[in-house]
């Protein structure tokens, strides 16, 4: 019986509900030491002196002079050191590492660092330095504005967001004959592999990275794990013993990456009938102190900045600025939640100025097959903007509620949004991901580096393979991501694990089926020995992209969604409760409806938190509320009831018609909720829209 489209039991479900799944902190090795990171406490300056205020007997102590290879966390640019040499660029930057077998002694050890402080840059808008600059141009902007009946301008701001995966970051490094093996919570085994090779000066085969069960990632375990793995490895190599580093919540929040804060300025030219004829967008992201992933976050943010709309004349300019704060990094949505927030709030403001229904304005301008995006990509049949909009409006009763709630403390608002599946531009071609499928005694074994971070990788990949081979789901096993045993199928990011990696697996399974000569894989294995099929990524036909000009097909395809938020303002506390959200997504076809729905519900809840709750308080360049006590994520009581609809529009180049769904749900809740606040009469242009913001806006509304 086919399993694609069925919600089969997830492969990792039984172990997880039994408490038997092993996360990094559940694992110990004989003779294992505990590691700790000594971090800078100033945002900018030089280290003059380091003094150990403890008896070093029994301790392993590592500083930058112990690094056998290059002192970098290798990623896009190799500018971030693994341990500070002299120059400090942000608070919490790692300076020194300690290990001891007794955790209490380890925590009690005091290290005194003397600095020569310099003047920090905190404000991205005033920062003289940029990590990356992007310009996207289409048509003739000046002509567009000249023609416009009305020009609407606006500035929109979004704050940091902390991932709050419930499992904090951690690694165990184990020295093994001339090399190192690290076990840890991560999304991208081969990122860590590459970083360790450079740091330790070791060849490929002397570095091994094994994934432990990750307790959530959301992008937060994309790049920073390379840093922690490096620290654990340095300590382990020096101590010649296994070393475990597991961050406590405060350290995890204080020291690791967050979502980039943004300032996005819009200038839009519209005709009185609602047609948008010119769009000028300036995107500023606060990149933090090192480049890390900022260039690619900016890139995705800019490409999504014009929203899912047709407009002949567009200019989008993006800048990721340097500041003396922790590098901001990957977080579900990767730049798109920031820019789609801005454009969707701008859309409602345009509608307001035109005296037009926000739905109507979107209907007029939404991308349709045959239209082109800002990068000049021509939309195909996989463009579903109008379909999701119509369904969401109908299903939520938007029009009726919009009328009925006018002038009350209840509001309803919506956001139309999209998200490109897979790496941006030529990213997938350059990644050249590989997957393997091997016959075994029991059936087949999937070999990929894509990790299970809760989203259901193992299950969904096994479904694709089972149906392609026409064998029972139970006969498909999935190997643990271990760089010594699996090919590099690329990082587990960018809504690519199903559509891109799943597609390669589908092709492996197709070829295997041909070569099995009608035998089952287990049978074939027993008769002829093992068969391994490996395939590499092949782009869908006709995809063209120019990195230099930012023109062409930015993504092979997009997924589409419309969120409708219903909110209620407490007139005394100025708290806004989101009561209900209608969430309509089109992402090709769900391979596993329960898992796909889980992505949508979970991502939507994160978006609700982003909109109204999650506030990173920055003080002197660092997160001042690095505790779950005062950084609040949605609880059961803050999360609205979610009415999720999954529409299908199978994509011919995805496995069984599937596109990406991991990040899409994060892009819409914040603008939908803020637009619902606008319906109440609150002119909000930033998130988190905290009660203090709303109180101020309510004051303005009265004054108007």
């Amino acid at each position: 019986m086919p399993v694609v489209g069925q919600s089969v039991p997830r492969k990792d479900g039984a172990a997880k509900v039994a408490g038997a799944a092993k996360y990094v902190d559940d694992i110990t090795f004989p003779g294992m030491l505990h590691g700790r990171t000594i971090r800078a406490t100033i945002p900018c300056g030089r280290i003059r002196d380091i003094r150990l205020d403890f008896d070093p007997a029994g301790f392993t102590i590592v500083d930058c002079s112990d690094i056998p290879g290059r002192n970098v966390v290798s990623l896009i640019e190799d500018d971030q050191p693994c341990l500070v040499e002299r120059e400090v660029r942000h608070v919490a930057e790692p300076v020194m590492l300690l290990a001891h077998e007794d955790r209490e002694k380890l925590l009690a050890a005091k290290v005194h660092i003397e600095y020569e402080p310099a003047t920090p840059v905190y404000d991205a808008e005033r920062s003289p330095a940029a990590h990356k600059h992007i310009v996207i141009e289409k048509g003739d902007l000046a002509k567009g504005f000249a023609k416009a009946d009305l020009v609407v301008e606006g500035e929109y701001r979004t704050g940091h967001q902390e991932h709050v995966y419930i499992e904090t970051n951690g690694f165990i490094a184990v020295p093994e004959d001339g090399g190192i093996t690290v076990h840890g919570s991560l999304q991208c085994p081969f990122y860590v592999h590459k970083a360790l090779k450079h740091l330790l000066g070791l060849p490929d085969d002397k570095v091994r990275v094994i994934q432990t069960e990750p307790g959530g990632g959301f992008g937060g375990k994309e790049e920073y794990p390379s840093m922690i793995a490096g620290h654990a490895a340095l300590l382990a190599l020096k101590a010649r013993r296994p070393v475990k580093i597991v961050y406590d919540r405060a350290e995890d929040m204080w020291a690791t990456t967050k979502r980039h804060p943004s300032v996005v300025r819009h200038r839009t030219g519209v005709m009185r009938d609602g047609r948008i004829v010119a769009m000028e967008v300036a995107v500023l992201l606060d990149g933090g102190a090192y480049v890390t992933l900022s260039p690619v976050v900016l890139s995705r943010g800019c490409i999504h900045a014009a929203g899912p709309y047709r407009c002949p004349n567009v200019r989008i300019e993006g800048r990721a600025a340097f500041t003396n704060t922790n590098p901001n990094g990957a977080f579900r949505g990767f730049g798109a939640p920031q820019t789609e927030f801005a454009v969707e709030v701008q859309m409602d403001r345009i509608a307001e100025r035109l005296g037009m229904d926000p739905v109507r304005l979107r209907e007029i301008n939404a991308l349709r097959p045959g239209d082109t995006t800002a990068t000049g990509q021509i939309m195909g049949k996989d463009c579903s903007a109008l379909m999701v909009l119509k369904e969401a409006v109908k299903r939520s009763g938007y029009r009726r509620k919009r009328r009925a709630w006018q002038g009350t403390n209840r509001g309803i608002g919506l956001a139309l949004f999209y998200h490109g599946s897979g790496f941006t531009g030529s990213g997938e071609v350059r990644l050249a991901s590989k997957c393997s499928l091997a016959t075994t005694e029991r059936g087949v074994l999937i070999l990929v580096a894509s990790t299970e971070i809760g989203q259901g990788t193992r299950t969904m990949h096994a479904q694709i393979v089972a149906d392609t081979l026409d064998i029972p789901f139970e006969q498909v096993d999935v190997a643990v991501p271990d760089t010594a045993g699996v090919p590099d199928s690329g990082p587990t990011v960018a809504s690519r694990t199903c559509m891109v990696v799943g597609r390669i697996l589908e092709r492996c399974a197709k070829e295997m089926k041909e070569r099995l000569d009608g035998l089952g894989p287990g049978e074939h294995y027993r008769r002829h020995g093992p068969m391994v099929i490996t395939k590499e990524y092949e782009p869908p036909p006709g995809i063209v992209w120019d990195d230099a000009t930012y023109r062409g097909d930015a993504y092979a395809t997009y997924s589409w969604a419309c969120d409708v938020a219903e909110v209620e303002l407490d007139p005394v506390t100025y708290e806004v409760k989101t009561r209900k959200m209608t969430v309509v997504h089109e992402f090709g076809r769900p391979i596993h409806p329960v898992l796909a729905r889980g992505q949508i519900e979970g991502g939507t809840a994160q978006g609700v938190g982003y909109a109204v709750l999650e506030h990173v308080v920055m003080q002197d360049g660092a997160m001042a509320n690095a505790q779950l006590t005062n950084y609040t994520i949605p609880t059961t009581l803050d999360t609205p009831r979610l009415d999720v609809v999954m529409l299908e529009n199978p994509y011919p180049y995805g496995p069984f018609g599937a596109k990406g769904v991991g990040e899409l749900p994060m892009d819409g809740p914040a603008p939908a909720i803020v637009n619902a606040m606008r319906h109440i009469g609150l002119d909000v242009r930033e998130v988190p829209a905290l009660p203090e913001v709303l109180m101020e806006k309510a004051g303005e509304a009265v004054m108007r």
Binding site: S7, P9, R10, D12, G13, A14, A15, K16, V17, A18, G19, A20, A21, K22, Y23, D25, D26, H163, V164, Y165, I166, E167, T168, E213, P214, G215, G216, G217, F218, D248, R249, I453, G454, Q455, G456, V594, L595, R597, G598, E601, G602, G603, T604, A605, Q606, Q627, L628, T629, I633, P634, T635, T636, L637, T639, R641, L642, V644
Partner: protein, 152 residues
């Protein structure tokens, strides 16, 4: 110190001020109980002490002397709540799951949606948005599972 752990009387030697969470994970080898924050905010460490849900990261070991302590491992793996969490997508990354299931168990049979929402307000899940957890708990108490779930 004596206590009843997952139904069996045991004698555990540990510092009385050590957190129950650490005693369970380190002395008793029961790593199903998770640490998410260490400050009573996330509920990942929820266990039952004499039937009541508590955060094991806040309880000093001395406090459970002669008590009945129940952890996720005590549910055997096929408790209707566990089965329902798997089927309904109540567990994604699984890090909140043991605590979530123990907290759900403490709600008693057939809790209303409102009771579930209030009762689980101290258990954070960053993956699911909670809807699947509500579905799982409600499903656990339907049909064949019920009698077993009532027995616990």
């Amino acid at each position: 110190m004596r206590l009843v752990l997952n139904g069996s009387p045991v004698e555990v030697v540990a510092h009385p001020m050590k957190r129950l969470l650490d005693v369970l994970r380190e002395e008793c080898g029961l790593t199903g109980t998770k640490e998410g924050c260490g400050e009573g905010e996330c509920g990942a460490c929820t266990v039952l002490v004499d039937g009541e849900a508590v955060c094991a990261c806040l309880v000093p070991f001395a406090q459970v002397r002669d008590c009945a302590v129940r952890t996720i491992e005590g549910l055997g793996g096929d408790h209707p709540l566990q089965t329902a969490f798997t089927r309904e997508g109540g567990a994604q990354c699984g890090m909140c799951t043991p605590g979530m299931i123990m907290a759900a168990l403490a709600l008693g049979p057939k809790p209303s949606l409102e009771r579930i929402r209030v009762g689980l307000a101290g258990n954070l899940c960053r993956c699911t948005g909670y809807e699947a957890i509500y579905r799982a708990i409600q499903r656990a108490w339907q049909g064949e599972g019920v009698s077993k779930a009532v027995r616990g």
